[in-house]
Symmetry: C2
Subunit: 149 residues, 2 copies
């Protein structure tokens, strides 16, 4: 327990949980300023497209990241085996396959099996979205039923 | 396919996925302005604490919401059976049980089994955090090993 919290607890009469977490518990992850100042932390994926990894679970396959795409950038056609949740921090984007636009401050749920191509319009300098997903990014050619290969 | 997208596809030479999604697919969820203008959309949980539900999966138990807490608000002691991911949209908060502070723009991963009490300091007018979690919010008395009940 930190000194700050001890003071808080004493002054406010708050009672924290009195027992340790299970000894098998993973540590928490805390990343201040998830949008990094250091440009090197952005992993380039293709022209005008970057990922900033935040979490990848090696036994279950869940993950979180930030996706950054600048104007006219395309995250090519891909499918998710499980649901994906997104919160648009900045800018706006759309999928070629859907008729809605994900605007700044929007929440988006992408259902399992959805196959889509993300595009950022030319008038958007930069979009950044927080994604929480599960399982692979299954990139595919939009002209083939690759699930049958 | 919308008219907007058809135009985009034609002008940019982009190819969307050519096949329909599986017929069993759920629809996507798109919520513009996840932080609502209508105050009634915020569900009060306790004094100075509100949830704004975004997604709840009835068969698997995953969910997303926004949590809003105003100064001195406490989200009482609870445990998560599975991991929780958070992105701090506004303000800042801390857990009594941990010595870090979740600041605006931070990413936080809470591991399965973590038991904690969320507190928003008096100098924070309002904090809003996007959470993606899995399974129940297991509220408990901080002084009992309720897992043994």
């Amino acid at each position: 327990m930190s000194l700050i919290n001890s003071k808080l607890i004493q002054e406010k009469g708050l009672t924290p949980y009195q027992f340790p977490n299970p000894k098998e518990s993973l540590p928490e992850i805390v990343i201040p300023n998830a949008i990094p100042d250091d440009e090197r932390v952005w992993v380039p994926q293709s022209e005008q497209v970057w990922f900033r990894p935040l979490c990848l679970n090696a036994s279950h396959g869940y993950w979180t990241n930030l996706l950054r795409v600048r104007k006219s950038g395309v995250l090519s056609c891909h499918r998710h085996p499980m649901g994906v949740h997104g919160y648009v921090i900045k800018g706006r984007w759309q999928y070629l396959e859907h008729d809605w636009v994900a605007t700044e401050g929007s929440y988006v749920f992408e259902p399992p099996g959805d196959t889509h191509t993300l595009y950022v319009p030319e008038d958007v300098e930069e979009m950044i979205t927080f994604f929480q997903g599960n399982g692979v990014m299954y990139y595919l050619d939009p002209r083939f039923h690759t699930t049958k290969v």
